[in-house]
């Protein structure tokens, strides 16, 4: 019988209490009738299954009954139902949307088998952060290391694809043969690279992305073996990758084999290779890190000159997201969680308030024999139903909101699609909904059934004990506290955004259109050929109406932060390559400074007469002068840079080359003609900058036409205004601040509603007391201040700890604050002031109602 007692627990408590004893009697009688062991066994088996089946059926009966009851009560109070559902929808919607983006970017596995074993290896140079490997270091590390199943190298660059219709500017990945196999992905058809492809002198091979295969080759399977021309070099197509293969970024349109030449291994500081590797199954990330550190130490001892400050760094491929991007997303998720917390507190409060007014009904039900369990269960059914309706609506909110958040997805991930609300996210929303329902439902439910206080049945009994009042106040205090945290967090982030937007980039972006003409090599390998194109394009562009200046530069500021070269100063020992002694190098045509309105502070501009047969000259930025010749006249001084001794002829203002948020190296500008044929062709000026007095975008067709006329094979890409380039710097932040601001606003409104609800209810519970006070001569102002005091106390109790928590939150966001103090006084005082306003607004109506109470009516209801 103990067995039966145990399985009886499958039934709801109420059913067991009612019929348990009876059912035991029945089973006991059956047991008496069973004589032999087989029939006893059969009896227990059948008893078990019938109990299981009937228990489910009884639970279902109870649920149906509760749902019917809930539907009736909610229909009686539609205002309550709608409010509750909307509040849940906001909370769940905010969290689901934030989660879908965070999960997409930071959590879910990358689309490769055993993706957690994929790592990237970087070199680090003291104070410099991470940088790529040189071929020589890559070769040595690969030979010596034991931690990896496979290791490969790659880099991405732009290339011109000619011959398939219009010339196209593409991003290509140059890979060693190991990369695709180690990622664990098979080509859709054809083959991936093998070691044979890598040998210098063998046929150059290319693998197409699915997208390129579809758009440029019409999805034709006969593409295998076809030759393609990339930057003038012939490649043979050997395979096509599946549609969901994106590596290292979705922009990469095709992959070509990288063939090293013996020369590539000469310079240990020619760092351009990104290293991907797959850990051996038994090797942890930490072990791999330790090994790489040891290897780099070894290399350093071997080549002390070249690798003075070098060390290594191994990170999971998953973590190739900048700290800023990930912090941005975690902050968002945290804020969404705050909104949900407030929503739950608000709902718990609504339910508590309603249960108080339903106390008599509940007492009646309890008196009629509904046990505590039935009442709790009934309450939970109600809150879960509300949560489910709200959750469903919230998912719709999220589906609408997720596309607005895609700006928060960094472009550095090997994933192609945009985040969406998929099954994983739906499960998250479902779990969250259940938690929400239980959290906001359980508290009031337990409260409601905690005491079977039959006093509530007495006519005229005053409901609402002090304990409940305190609980409800605490919930509102929590709401205020959390909304202060959100207000302050979004406040400091807004300040940071303003600060960044106010940052002087060093140039004037208004009225400038830019575009890239890719200069396919080797066609433009010779300096004179390039110069002819520049002169042709620039002179015709200058003739367009409204154009005041036009120039070419290696790469626009903020678009590309690279091109950092070591600087050596005449008379000083050769300076090592470290953060202190490098500068960004750009080749320009003379009008560049006037096109971007970068001020010339001293000396002269570069000119058309700075040619190869003249003295090698350079224009440097003010920070360059400050570093090497502080308080001296730099004009005429020499430094060694990019294979030559250069003479400073001019000084210009500093430009934020690396972007608004990151400190930039000093800048060196070199004349476009002072470079030998075939040297540093990667730095050949290819970005066109045009300043106009009119609308810059309207010039685009005319400029395109000019370029097409001068070189029909020249693709034009990246057409955008300089203002767009600068705005892109803050785009992710802008999105984040908007979303956080929206969350804070929601929290603010919910907290105000919370205060309003609390005070309204307090007033309605105290009508008689207030009536008596007024009858005894209390003035309206006394009553008013009594209610307001109540509100202010609650607000103050929330604001004070809220500000402390907000400081902690702001501290954790410090990396995003761009120098704004986490304890920013203006933000904190505005948040506190807003909370005061919120309190006053929330208290206003209840206070007004209290003042309007007619003492006679109030007392007569007694």
């Amino acid at each position: 019988m103990r067995f039966y007692d145990a399985i009886l627990h499958l039934y709801p408590v109420s059913f067991r209490a009612e019929y348990g004893e009876e059912m035991r009697a029945v089973v006991r009688a059956r047991r008496r009738d069973a004589t032999n062991p087989t029939s006893v066994l059969m009896l227990w088996i059948s008893v078990f299954f019938e109990t299981l089946f009937n228990a489910i059926a009884v639970h279902w009966d109870v649920l149906r009954q509760d749902l019917r009851y809930t539907a009736r009560t909610l229909a009686r109070t539609p205002g309550f139902a709608v409010t509750a559902i909307l509040v849940v929808a906001l909370g769940i919607g905010a969290n689901t949307a934030a989660f879908s983006v965070t999960d997409f970017v930071l959590i879910r596995n990358l689309p490769f088998p055993d993706a957690n074993r994929l790592v990237k290896i970087w070199q680090t140079v003291g104070g410099y952060g991470q940088m790529e490997f040189s071929p020589a270091n890559y070769r040595d590390v690969k030979q010596m290391s034991q931690s990896f199943e496979a290791m490969g190298a790659m880099f991405t660059m732009e290339a011109n694809l000619v011959g398939q219709g219009d010339p196209q500017r593409l991003e290509e990945g140059q890979l060693t043969s190991e990369v695709i196999p180690l990622l664990g992905v098979q080509p859709l058809f054809g083959r991936a690279f093998t070691a044979a492809d890598e040998r210098d002198g063998s046929n150059r091979t290319a693998v197409l992305s699915y997208r390129l295969w579809q758009t440029e080759f019409g999805g034709d399977r006969a593409v295998l073996g076809r030759p393609v021309l990339l930057d003038g070099l012939p490649y043979v197509v050997i395979g096509v990758m599946p549609a969901d293969f994106h590596f290292p970024r979705p922009e990469v349109a095709l992959w070509v084999i990288h063939q090293f030449t013996p020369d590539d291994f000469k310079d240990r500081n020619d760092n351009y290779l990104e290293i991907v590797a797959r850990l051996k199954p038994a090797v942890s990330l930490e072990q791999a890190r330790a090994e790489i550190n040891v290897l780099m130490e070894q290399l350093k001892r071997q080549y002390p000159e070249d690798l003075k400050h070098a060390s290594g760094r191994v990170i999971s491929l998953r973590d190739e997201v900048s700290k800023r991007s990930s912090l941005l997303l975690w902050a968002l998720l945290g804020a969404a969680a705050c909104v949900l917390l407030i929503a739950c507190a608000n709902l718990a409060n609504l339910l508590l308030a309603r249960n108080l007014s339903r106390e008599r009904e509940l007492a009646v039900r309890a008196a009629l024999g509904a046990g505590r369990e039935r009442l709790v269960r009934q309450s939970l059914t109600e809150s879960l139903l509300l949560a489910a309706l709200g959750g469903g609506l919230g998912v719709l909110v999220a589906i609408a909101a997720v596309p607005l958040l895609t700006k928060l997805v960094p472009s550095s991930l090997p994933i192609g699609s945009a985040p969406s609300v998929d099954l994983r996210v739906l499960i998250f929303a479902g779990v969250l909904t259940i938690i929400t329902g239980v959290v906001f439902g359980a508290l009031p439910a337990l409260r409601a059934s905690g005491k079977t206080d039959l006093n509530a049945l007495r006519e005229g009994a005053r409901s609402g004990g002090g304990r409940k009042e305190r609980l409800r106040s605490m919930l509102v205090v929590t709401e205020v506290m959390v909304s202060v945290v959100l207000l302050v967090s979004s406040g400091v982030l807004i300040r940071a955004l303003w600060k960044l937007q106010a940052t002087d980039p060093g140039f004037q972006s208004g009225g400038v259109i830019t575009m890239r003409t890719a200069l396919p090599m080797p066609k433009y390998e010779r300096t004179a050929v390039r110069a002819e194109l520049y002169r042709g394009v620039l002179s015709e562009v200058r003739a367009l109406p409204g154009v005041t200046a036009a120039a070419y530069i290696t790469s626009l500021p903020m678009v590309w932060g690279g091109g950092i070269w070591p600087v050596a100063i005449d008379g000083q020992a050769a300076l090592e390559r470290s953060f202190g002694h490098t500068a960004s190098m750009r080749f320009i045509t003379p009008e560049y400074f006037s096109a971007l309105r970068i001020p010339i502070r001293m000396g002269r501009n570069l000119s058309e007469s700075d040619t190869l047969d003249q003295q090698f000259v350079a224009v440097v930025s003010q920070s360059f002068v400050r570093r090497y010749w502080p308080d001296q006249n730099p004009i005429g001084r020499h430094f060694q840079f990019c294979f030559h001794d250069r003479t400073v002829v001019g000084v210009v203002g500093d430009v934020r080359v690396r972007g608004l948020e990151i400190p930039s190296e000093p800048q060196v500008y070199l004349p476009y003609q002072q470079v030998q044929d075939g040297w540093v062709v990667f730095y050949a000026p290819k970005d066109l900058v045009v300043r106009t007095t009119g609308n810059p975008a309207s010039l685009t067709p005319a400029i395109r036409q000019i370029i097409r006329r001068l070189d029909p094979e020249q693709p034009v890409s990246d057409v955008r205004t300089m203002e767009d380039v600068v705005d892109l710097q803050t785009a992710a932040r802008m999105t984040q601040v908007r979303v956080l601001g929206a969350f804070a606003a929601i929290a603010f409104v919910l907290a105000a509603i919370g205060i309003h609800g609390l005070l309204s209810f307090a007033v309605s519970q105290r009508i008689r007391e207030i009536g008596v006070r007024m009858a005894l001569g209390a003035a309206s102002s006394d009553i008013l201040s009594m209610i307001l005091r109540n509100g202010v106390w609650v607000a103050a109790a929330g604001v004070v700890p809220g500000l402390a928590l907000a400081y902690a939150a702001a501290r954790s966001l410090e990396a995003l604050l761009a120098g704004v103090e986490p304890g920013d006084l203006a933000t904190f005082s505005s948040a506190a002031a807003l909370c005061l306003v919120m309190t006053l607004v929330g208290s206003f109506l209840p206070a007004l109602r209290a003042v309007r109470i007619d003492p006679m009516t109030a007392i007569r209801t007694e």
Partner: protein
């Protein structure tokens, strides 16, 4: 709400409910007695389980087909713990309606030769 619900609205009855009503139509019984009566009438073919019985009873109480009775049989037959159930007038009406429904079905089947001729 109508104080006297329409017996037809309960049809068709779940078999267990119908059997319980038949068992209680004769006399007030406790749960185990209902099970025994049903088993006896069906030659042991239908043995209601404890769970099925009391789940049905709970629902029938809610629907007003039966009531718990306070009058008990003679003390020597009475077991203190046991609850006795009595069929209500509504219960009788519903059982009649269900019986009628079954009879009609049998009649229809007979017309098509699917059921034996009426026993004489």
């Amino acid at each position: 709400m109508d104080k006297r619900p329409d017996p037809e609205s309960f049809l068709p009855l779940p078999p267990a409910t119908f059997h319980i009503l038949i068992a209680l139509a004769e006399e007030d019984r406790h749960g185990y007695a209902v099970i025994q009566d049903v088993a006896a009438r069906t030659n042991g073919e239908l043995k209601l389980s404890a769970g099925t019985l009391y789940r049905s009873i709970q629902r029938m109480l809610d629907q007003g087909l039966i009531v718990e009775t306070s009058t008990r049989p003679a003390p020597e037959f009475d077991d203190e713990r046991r609850r006795y159930y009595r069929i209500t007038p509504l219960g009788i009406a519903v059982a009649r309606a269900e019986a009628r429904r079954h009879a009609q079905l049998v009649r229809m089947a007979r017309v098509r030769g699917l059921a034996p001729e009426k026993a004489s």
